[in-house]
Amino acid sequence: MTGAGYQWDEADRLFDEALDLPPGERERWLDRRCAGRPALRRQVESLLRADAAATGFLEVEGRRVADLPAEGAERGAAGHEIGPYRVVRELARGGMGVVYLAGRADGQPDQRVALKLVRKGLDSDRIHRRFLAERRILGRLDHRNIARLLDGGITDDGQPWFAMEFVEGSTIVAHSDARGLGVPDRLRLLLEVCAAVHYAHGRLVIHRDLKPGNILVTADGRVKLLDFGIAKVVEGDDEAGTQNVTRTADRILTPEYAAPEQVRGEPVTAATDVYALGVVLYELLTGRRAQPLARRTPTEIVKAVLLSRPQPPSTVAPGERQAALRGELDAIVLRALEKEPGRRHQTVAALADEIGRCLDSVHYRDNPHPGRTS
């Protein structure tokens, strides 16, 4: 349900239409509109149930002042300075912290950066030490599809920050949906992602937190990967030597995209990024998460990531795409998503090769847009 994509759009559209019908007629209407699409139907029905239950939900006359900030305690609010940068506005928030749009405070206003302020409460000393250790390696990543790491440091009160090349674009999934891209075009985008990840692996940098939110496509169609290697600095996988799976799961930055070995607290390798690429590809092709999480609790994460097997993409994708996915692509995606790292494609290049062969196959040449939705 949280997965980006046209499945969501479709469910939302049907939900919107159903609202105009008298409740008594909805059942028969759904029979007709969702024929052969039980997953879609469940989604629309649960939205309709939520609509009935949500009367009064979120309906407050404004938030109360008691929920407002105390004086002078914000960091990173507009105008505040972090390192040599001055914050312009907030761009995004995530599990790791807040990302601001910022400019140089020393009067080079043109240079805009994405400034990531790491969430308080993470072990900032350790993060800082790791950052210093990683900085040189990350700074050397120089690839047209990878957003550059420019700078980093620690604020006076101990919050680590990173400055990165500012990229304006939408996530790979949102971009593909907005343009109604068919399966071949989606595969081509993913191949660009693979090329960038492969480049970084050649320089011994693993991304560790690949997900649609970290893979943007700019207005002129260029793929850009964000946050390369940052997860290693922030996450801290090996230090505590913890054997406690649920504790490790609790610390994973983005559990929906985490590989089983990350959840188990085991060493991360190139195969970890292969897995994440599989999750991204799954979502790109089907509009659904490979491992949907009902809740982000440790037990739920362990259950979903370690135990449950994803459905073949062709069985959950919208009808018009199923034929294109059945067979080869199903096999490629499921192999990338193997629980055991050794059973996945051994390198990103191997994954890319298979996808490339799929693209070349006669099937697509004869029928260039089998999955086009619009």
Partner: protein
């Protein structure tokens, strides 16, 4: 101030309070503040530039509105010591009358200001909730935590963060729907004001709000 925020006595909010009026309290800012001042002249200028799509101006506008909202909030909080509460709806309206020279702007600019103010209000509330040490603990989300009343501030803060996160996800699918929630929920704007702020019709706003609520409800309680 944090301590006073935890005091149960301050948790009660009058059910519905008319915008721009603070029953029983001296207005924090009198309406005479709306006569042009250097500040309002400057920000009115920025608002007019922002209307023309000047990105720099949009950024500057956000910064100034954000700062002003925080300032007004602090003044309100000092008033709270005498037992009066105030809503974000009131703050946004006060900021508007304080910052914008009414004689120079058109109604579209007012909408634009409300849109920016709603975004700023969301950020202020979320930053505060985070500083309260609220973390998402998972487990059953209590819809009641979002409602006013005798709910501990920590739990409310947690609920606020949950909505914020879900809203960020919603924005990936449908940014327009997310903006409506920003206006309605975080800034407490009315449906009419939200239509102004988003530049759409009242009917569209009502439908988007209904769809967004159902989605968020399912996302947060399902």
């Amino acid at each position: 101030m944090r301590r006073s925020g935890r005091n149960p006595a301050t948790l009660v909010l009058p059910a519905r309070r008319p915008a721009r009026m603070f029953a029983g309290a001296t207005p924090l800012l009198s309406m005479s503040d709306s006569v042009p001042t250097p500040v309002s002249a400057a920000i009115t200028e920025v608002l007019l530039q922002a209307r023309d799509g000047d990105r720099e101006a949009v950024d500057r506008l956000f910064g100034q509105v954000y700062d002003e909202l925080r300032r007004v909030a602090h003044r309100a909080l000092r008033g709270e010591l005498t037992g009066h509460t105030l809503s974000t709806t009131g703050l946004v309206h006060e900021a508007y009358f304080k910052l914008v020279d009414q004689t120079r702007v058109e109604w579209q600019d007012r909408g634009h200001f409300f849109g920016v103010a709603s975004r700023a209000m969301r950020q202020i509330l979320v930053e505060y909730a985070r500083r309260r040490g609220a973390v998402k603990r998972g487990g059953q989300f209590r819809a009641v935590a979002l409602e006013e009343g005798l709910v501990p501030a920590e739990e409310r803060a947690e609920a606020l963060l949950a909505v914020d996160e879900a809203l960020t996800r919603l924005a990936e699918h449908d940014p327009a729907m997310a903006r409506v929630v920003e206006c309605r929920f975080f800034a407490g704007l009315s449906e009419e004001e939200t239509a102004e702020a988003t530049g759409t019709s009242l009917r569209t706003v009502q439908r988007q709000w209904r769809r967004a609520k159902a989605w968020l409800y399912e996302e947060l309680t399902g």
